[in-house]
């Protein structure tokens, strides 16, 4: 077995060709390129996808804010440029219309999911999104932990991050319930369902609990109310906290290092969320190896059922079983939905948890379906069951910012743990984790200074 725990080994791996001369470093660099291509320099906002007329996704801005420090460390961007881009976005959010009107940008410190690229006003009648705001703020906090220089710009940057985080009214977002609501719209109020069951919202709960100004009501009880719908399952021989789509096991981990820290649930199960994600990856492999629906390509090195784009128009090649196509959907194993669509990037987003498995899958998938990497950046998904002799596997058009962001961050966490180190030193994250009942591991140690964290 390769020694992936060894930092030198990881650094060397990242410069070794993964496939066709592509190194991890190059894949990471190319993914980062999305944020340069998709930015509106005037306000620092990043569009959701590279498709025409795509609006801004606030979560993608969070990924961009987290990725600029990576780019500086990797020598892809100079610090002043990164600060300028970060400041533009943070100033925009500070000055944005927080009236909650149908054309505002946000309300009570939260932001609408999708915004106009130029004006930053709400588009698509999108919801005020609690989890996407959390991903945006996680990115802002990452920037705040990285840009610690005593300069005017970096001081302003840190103040902006504080302002944005502290004004979020997490308690209001509970809407009187024990758990945080999924969204709110000016036209109809809170969406009538909350973030319940295991999903990507751990980071949201941590930030909501860590707030010194408006923490969610009920503290640990609120977190426990959320975890009350967890299911600890034995599936294909693996014991794990079940969630079908892979992104659930990855997104919160982009920012928070869950190695060795445990909440009440994980203490009881003698596991932690990091190990849990590793097992979830094994379950994906097992599912792909079994391939019960008989889709093309699936095997132990070709997997990645997750939230991604996918084909949605009737495709004659898939017709014999009259299987529906799900378009953009949270695909999952083993209970679906599954229409033969896989996300190639999901393998690299799994790197920190299971490096051998992830690299092997990334290599195999790129070798077989190089078309999934248009312009050196991962497409949102590919579907080998819908292959044509001319174009190969069906490939989702363009690129999605979330996919590029998670690739940049997870490769970096694998290579240097930069994001994890920064967030381990963030007092709000530490407080939030403690209030959620997390104990042990790095939480039991004194936080590193910001310089050490960097």
């Amino acid at each position: 077995m390769e020694d992936h725990a060894n930092p030198c080994r990881r650094q060397r791996m990242s410069r070794e060709p993964l496939i066709g001369g592509q190194t991890l470093d190059e894949l990471q660099h190319a993914a980062f390129g999305y944020f340069l291509q998709a930015v509106n320099p005037a306000n620092g906002l990043i569009v959701d996808t590279s498709r025409d007329n795509s609006p801004v996704s606030i979560a993608v801005v969070g990924f961009a804010l987290s990725s600029y420090p990576v780019a500086i460390e990797r020598g892809w961007m100079d610090r002043a440029d990164a600060v300028r881009r970060s400041l533009a976005a943070l100033r925009f959010f500070r000055d944005s219309d927080q009236s909650g009107s149908p054309t505002a940008t946000g309300y009570r410190g939260f932001y609408y999911h999708f915004l106009d690229r130029e004006s930053g006003a709400r588009v698509w009648r999108s919801e005020l999104s609690m989890v996407d705001t959390a991903l945006l703020i996680a990115g802002a906090l990452t920037a705040g932990r990285y840009f610690t220089a005593d300069s005017v710009d970096e001081t302003e940057l840190r103040e902006l991050v504080e302002t944005l985080y502290l004004r979020i009214d997490w308690r209001w977002a509970q809407g009187g319930a024990r758990t945080v609501r999924m969204g709110w719209k000016p036209e109809c109020g809170f969406l009538h369902y909350g973030w319940e069951g295991f999903n990507e919202a751990i980071v949201m709960y941590v930030l909501a609990l860590g707030s010194p100004t408006h923490p969610i009501e009920g503290g640990c009880e609120c977190f426990d109310a959320w975890t009350a719908t967890y299911q600890w399952e034995n599936l294909y021989g693996y014991d794990f906290l079940y969630a079908g789509p892979l992104f659930v096991h990855q997104f919160s981990h982009a920012w928070i290092d869950f190695r060795g820290i445990r909440d009440r649930f994980m203490r009881e199960k003698r596991c932690d969320y990091f190990e849990n994600s590793r097992r979830a990856i094994e379950v994906q492999r097992e599912y792909a190896r079994r391939n019960p629906l008989g889709f093309a390509g699936y095997d132990e090195n070709c997997w990645g059922l997750t939230a991604c784009d996918g084909p949605s128009h009737p495709q004659p090649t898939l017709d014999p079983a009259r299987r529906p196509l799900f378009g953009y959907a949270a695909r999952g194993a083993p209970h679906g939905p599954d229409d033969g669509t896989l996300a190639g990037w999901a393998a690299l987003a799994s790197l920190p948890f299971a490096p051998e498995i992830a690299l092997s899958a990334a290599r195999t998938m790129l070798e077989r379906y190089p078309e999934m990497l248009p312009a050196q950046q991962y497409a949102s998904s590919f579907n080998p069951s819908l292959a044509s002799a001319e174009h190969g596997a069906w490939v989702s058009a363009g690129h999605f910012g979330l996919d590029q962001g998670i690739v940049v961050m997870m490769i970096e966490n694998y290579r240097s743990e930069l994001i994890w180190r920064l967030m381990r030193s963030c007092p709000y994250v530490r407080t939030g984790l403690r209030r959620a009942g997390f104990r042990g591991g790095w939480l039991a140690q004194r936080p590193a200074s910001t310089d050490q964290a960097r």
Binding site: E127, L191, N234, H335
Partner: protein, 507 residues
């Protein structure tokens, strides 16, 4: 409150219907002269009432039963029996259309004969009604009265002008569909379980309001008959009580069948224009209108507690939750018990049956049987079917019971693969670090049959360790349960035990 009555289709008055009505409400029936005092008077001739009447009479009690409408209740006449009969025909049409998946040639001209499907259903219903017939009851020694029962005191009631005195009574008046208060719905006309089985023609376009068991089962059946079906469900998933994966698999199955699924959606207004029903739907802030030919509502049930003068008998009740009973099914009047939908949250035929048996023991023999001691399974007979027994994981978590789930996807089961019925899973929940079964959810074509094994194990106190020793016939879909038990056994192989075993085998 007067119930809003929708214009109803009526079943054809043919020989089959005549046979059923002769069984469950004969036109020539004359109520008997009441006895001086009955050992047990039963109000309601549905499942609970019939079970209690037969059981009490067989034990020698003097029993009277009062039914205001049809013997057999909802289950026989407008519930389980007719719905399962048409689900079978609908499944056959689906299989004909999907014949290619089974290595068979799809029939060239599959034309749905809806009237024939409904006629078959009526024939089955008439046949099964023989078991619930008034003649059988009378032959068992039960005095049967047709008419509205009304309590006249703590130990008496009237029916059709006669006064019946009792030592003990049981209220088993059942429940009825809860009509959603949607402006224009009553005026436009709508279907419920009470009249949908009287249809003889298939509505071309059907809106189903409500994603509970009835709505889901009939939405799928009507879609498979060829209707263009839209189902609007207020919650994010169907069958909100069931676990997420089960509901998700069902939503996927609906999509495969071609049902237009509208989750998080409420119907807010109905109007009729040009013979079409236009229904306004709202999903959060998204407004849309669907044009349909029929509307079926399946938004829950309310207990039948009106017109009984329960106050006069000192029986406490609530319009929404029904008659208040203790764990022994006794009401606030110590002489009067209740059973079935009229008093229980779980409104199932088998629960009505079980509760009626408890009442007979407790009322007539000073029994102390508790309702809470029952282990009650249930099943929604969609394709795949969704069955559950015992605790849900969320319930166990709330009670601080550490729980672990052993999951076997049906694609791990040879027979399911051979049958082309791989959608679904068996999930068995056990108390962590023990083999004690807390509950189970099964999603499978035959989930209703499979859940019985788990129920038996729970009632008998059999754990997964023992289930692993039970030989299951191969190949059967029920083998999924043994596989779950095997998975449990494998988790018992701790590294220490493995090492000991290795040493033993090397020796």
């Amino acid at each position: 409150m007067k119930r809003p009555d929708a214009p109803c289709p009526t079943a054809p008055a043919d020989a089959i219907e005549h046979e059923r009505l002769e069984n469950v409400r004969p036109a020539a029936w004359r109520n008997p002269q009441p006895a001086n005092c009955y050992g047990l008077v039963i109000v309601g001739g549905g499942t609970a009432g019939l079970v209690a009447a037969h059981a009490a009479a067989a034990l020698g009690a003097r029993v009277a039963l009062i039914e205001r409408n049809l013997l057999g209740g909802d289950c026989l006449n407008v519930g389980c029996v007719p719905s399962k009969a048409i689900l079978r025909t609908a499944r056959l049409y689906a299989e004909m259309r999907d014949a290619g998946q089974y290595g068979a040639r799809t029939p060239a001209d599959v034309r749905v004969d809806f009237a024939a499907a409904m006629a078959r259903m009526r024939g089955i219903r008439a046949r099964i009604s023989r078991a619930d017939s008034v003649r059988r009851l009378s032959a068992a020694g039960v005095d049967v009265f047709f008419g509205q029962a009304r309590f006249t005191g703590m130990d008496a009631l009237s029916a059709d002008g006669a006064t019946l005195r009792f030592k003990k009574a049981m209220i088993a008046t059942g429940s009825r569909p809860d009509t959603p208060s949607i402006p224009g719905l009553v005026e436009a006309g709508f279907l419920t379980n009470e009249n949908v089985f009287d249809l003889t023609g298939l509505p071309r376009r059907l809106l189903v309001i409500g994603g509970g068991p009835l709505g889901c089962e009939l939405a799928q059946a009507f879609c498979r008959f060829g209707a263009q079906v839209t189902i609007a469900q207020h919650w994010p998933l169907f069958l909100p009580r069931e676990e997420r994966d089960a509901a998700q698999l069902l939503a996927d199955a609906f999509a495969r069948d071609g049902i237009e699924v509208r989750l998080n959606t409420r119907a807010v207004a109905v109007r009729v224009e040009g013979g079409q029903k236009f229904v306004d739907l709202v999903s959060d802030d998204y407004h849309s209108t669907v044009a349909v030919d029929a509307i079926l509502t399946g938004t829950g049930r309310v207990p039948n507690v009106d017109d009984l003068n329960l106050e006069g008998a000192g029986v406490d009740y609530d319009k929404a939750d029904g008659i208040r009973v203790d764990d022994f099914l006794r009401t606030s009047n110590r002489r009067i018990y209740a059973a079935g939908d009229a008093c229980l949250a779980h409104k199932f035929t088998h629960t009505a049956d079980a509760s009626a048996r408890i009442v007979v023991r407790n009322a007539l023999f000073h029994g102390r049987q508790r309702m809470s001691a029952l282990t009650i399974p249930w099943c929604t007979y969609t394709d795949p079917a969704i069955a559950h027994v015992g605790l849900y994981v969320s319930e166990a978590n709330r009670r601080n019971i550490p729980v672990k789930t052993f999951t076997i996807p049906m694609h791990e089961v040879d027979r399911a693969i051979a049958d082309g019925e791989e959608t679904g899973f068996v999930k068995i929940h056990v108390k962590e670090r023990t083999d004690r079964i807390l509950g189970a959810t099964i999603v499978a074509r035959h989930a209703g049959d499979m859940i019985n094994e788990i129920t038996l194990a729970m009632v008998a106190g059999i754990g997964l360790r023992t289930l692993a020793r039970v030989i299951h016939a191969y190949p059967t879909q029920g083998e999924a349960i043994r596989k779950a038990a095997d998975a449990y056994k494998r988790t018992r192989l701790t590294p220490t035990i493995r090492s000991l075993l290795r040493r033993w085998l090397q020796w």
